[in-house]
């Protein structure tokens, strides 16, 4: 089993490496180079040349890549093109904010969707199940900003919660939780639907198997069948779905941060895209992609561990 986990880890590291190459190398895709593209037609050759030197474009790509990767490994993400500040400084506080928001949403969403999914599987084809089915199918199809503005419309106007999630570094936890409640709730609504549908599907899938029928025949109650007999075997797909949705939270956070003017990494990234601040976007993309890959890796390992047949394989 250790060998298998080591294999997965190695694969994860390889993926991370390829992603870093892709994120770095994307600049090279341009027919001209990024200096001309950003400075536009009117730039004098001197400014283009200076800009190119600044980016290090006068050196071969693989050397630049190694420098960049070495810097990233030491926590030095380079400098912003727009305001010359070190990217590490720009990102540090924002990354913590984004992680806080994602974690907040996850703490609400995961137990909620598991409970709703198990209930829907327990009472399947009932009115509750059908209602939940239509509701979740709809909320999957809503754009995040629609959900966000609906919440603002109903909850922020009456003054219950602030519509702008401005957090100051010194604020205490309760205040912070109150201020970021609406963005967290938006994210929760967006991911809960998917997670509970998959939980329901995973459990219902198992309910057709012979050992469940056996349990039913010997007189086990429906709640015990689902919780004790079906759930442990459904853990692997459920863990996968949770990880996938947590990974989705990471991207969903971008739009939600913009709606609620939340000072997180996503907002920084969107601002940098419109300013064409390539180095900042690269750094942010690298962080988001790393989190995404790591979550998938954790899911992979955990879902293996949840299956005794894989753990004790001979």
């Amino acid at each position: 089993m250790l060998q298998m986990i080591a294999q997965r880890l190695a694969l994860g590291v390889l993926t991370l490496f390829l992603i870093s190459v892709l994120i770095f190398g994307a600049i090279e895709l341009l027919p001209g180079d990024i200096a001309e593209e950003i400075l536009g037609q009117s730039a004098t050759p001197e400014t283009v040349e200076a800009f190119r030197r600044e980016l290090g474009l006068d050196r071969p790509a693989h050397l630049r890549y190694l420098d960049w990767l070495g810097g990233v490994a030491q926590g030095d993400l380079g400098h912003s093109l727009a305001n010359r500040r070190p990217i590490a400084d720009l990102i540090a506080g924002r990354l913590a904010n984004t992680l806080f928001l994602a974690l907040y949403a996850a703490v609400i969403a995961v137990p909620l969707s598991l409970a709703l999914g198990i209930l829907a599987a327990l009472y399947r084809n009932s009115l509750y199940d059908r209602a939940v089915n239509v509701f979740t199918l709809s909320s999957i199809s809503f754009p995040e900003f629609f959900v966000a503005y609906i919440l603002i419309f109903f909850l922020a106007q009456s003054g219950l919660f602030p519509s702008i999630a401005r957090v100051t570094p010194g604020a205490d936890l309760a205040d912070k939780l109150h201020r970021t409640f609406l963005p967290a709730l938006t994210l929760t609504l967006v991911v809960t639907a998917h997670m509970m549908r998959m939980t329901r599907a995973a459990i219902i899938n198992l309910l057709a198997s012979p050992y469940i029928e056996m349990a039913r025949l010997k007189g086990v109650g429906p709640a015990r069948i689902v919780l004790r007999h079906a759930l442990p075997n459904a853990l692997a797909p459920i863990i996968n779905v949770i990880a996938l949705n947590l990974a989705y939270l990471i991207t969903g956070v971008v739009v939600v941060e913009v709606v609620f003017v939340y000072p997180g990494l996503g907002q920084l990234m969107v601002d940098s895209v419109s300013k064409r601040d390539v180095t900042v976007v690269q750094a942010a993309a690298l962080i988001f992609a790393c989190a995404y890959v790591l979550l998938n890796l954790v899911a992979d390992v955990l879902s293996t561990l949840s299956n005794p047949r894989l753990v004790h394989r001979r």
């Binding site: 390829l18 709809s138 900003f145 988001f288």
Partner: protein, 311 residues
């Protein structure tokens, strides 16, 4: 400030909407059953209410998109009055942040937003399924190269990758179509390849190969017909994802650019109204949501039919 609409009123409105939708869906199905030719009617009869509601909505959007210049009371980019005018007889839904007629822009938005999303989906779909079918049929190193490339591309979250590529290429409509089509074609590739893999191993394909059929004929005439059902459903799902992605980018100000009327950027431009208790900016967002819900309902039904699931 007192909210003009309470939560209870909203729930009542929602229930009324659901009831109305059910009636519309039911009468559409009844009408279609009476009018449609026998073969179509037989399929439609199995459609649940949600699916027929989806069909009505999709049909309505197509009609609005095609007839936009006829239906819209004012021009798409025409400034017709003051900014943020309230709803009245002339401007049924008021005006936007620059004094353009909201209703007209909503109607033109159907054409722009849905049209661009449809074009993007088509590109993604053609590229993804052609490469996927090719990879499954040819196999060997071509399959390996394409599959590994797709693996790497899919390891980066879609929106993040789109943002990165748009920074490098610059934000414009053609660039956005290209970027999103590229990203979504990887998902189509995965599915097309997986479906085709199951078909390729069948005996009749072996027979066709021995008969000396060329690659093109093999893919188009032998494999595609047996792989089409999941691919058609995938087209619907893909459309939803593309549509939401484009709306999200436009909402962030990085997609469809003004003055083109587009639902995502309309929400962004008029969002301040929401804090004053005006629901107008929610309408374009709702239009996006309604269409994706409708497509999802129809796809759900098609998948159900194709798989013969009873659950």
């Amino acid at each position: 400030m007192e909210s003009p609409i309470t939560v209870w009123q909203a729930i009542a409105a929602l229930l009324a909407f659901a009831a109305g939708a059910a009636v519309v869906a039911w009468s559409f199905r009844a009408g279609a059953l009476a009018l449609a030719p026998h073969a179509v009617a037989r399929v439609l009869r199995t459609a649940p209410l949600t699916a027929s509601f989806g069909l009505v909505v999709i049909l309505a959007y197509v009609v609005v998109a095609l007839l936009a210049p006829v239906l819209a009371p004012f021009g798409e980019r025409e400034v017709v009055g003051g900014e943020y005018l309230p709803w009245d007889e002339v401007h049924l839904l008021g005006t936007d942040n620059l004094g353009r007629d909201m209703l007209s822009r909503l109607i033109y938005g159907a054409r722009n937003t849905v049209g661009i999303a449809f074009a993007t989906t088509t590109v993604a779909f053609v590229v993804g399924s052609v490469l996927g079918l090719l990879a499954a049929t040819v196999g060997g190193w071509l399959d390996q190269v394409l599959s590994r490339a797709v693996d790497v591309l899919m390891a980066i979250p879609a929106l993040i990758f789109a943002l990165l590529l748009l920074t490098i290429l610059g934000t414009s409509i053609p660039n956005m179509i290209l970027v999103i089509a590229l990203i979504d074609s990887t998902r189509v590739f995965r599915l097309a390849r997986a479906v085709a893999m199951n078909v390729v191993v069948m005996d009749y394909i072996e027979a066709a190969r021995l008969r000396g059929e060329g690659l093109g004929r093999l893919i188009l005439r032998e494999i595609l017909p047996n792989a089409s059902a999941p691919l058609v459903a995938e087209f619907g799902l893909r459309f939803c994802f593309v549509f939401l992605a484009i709306s999200a980018l436009s909402f962030l100000g990085l997609g469809i650019q003004p003055p083109t009327a587009d639902w995502g950027s309309m929400v962004r431009d008029n969002a301040t109204l929401i804090t004053f208790g005006d629901i107008t900016p929610l309408l374009p967002a709702g239009a996006i949501a309604l269409l994706t819900v409708a497509v999802n309902f129809v796809v759900d039904w098609m998948l159900h039919r194709a798989s013969g699931l009873k659950e």
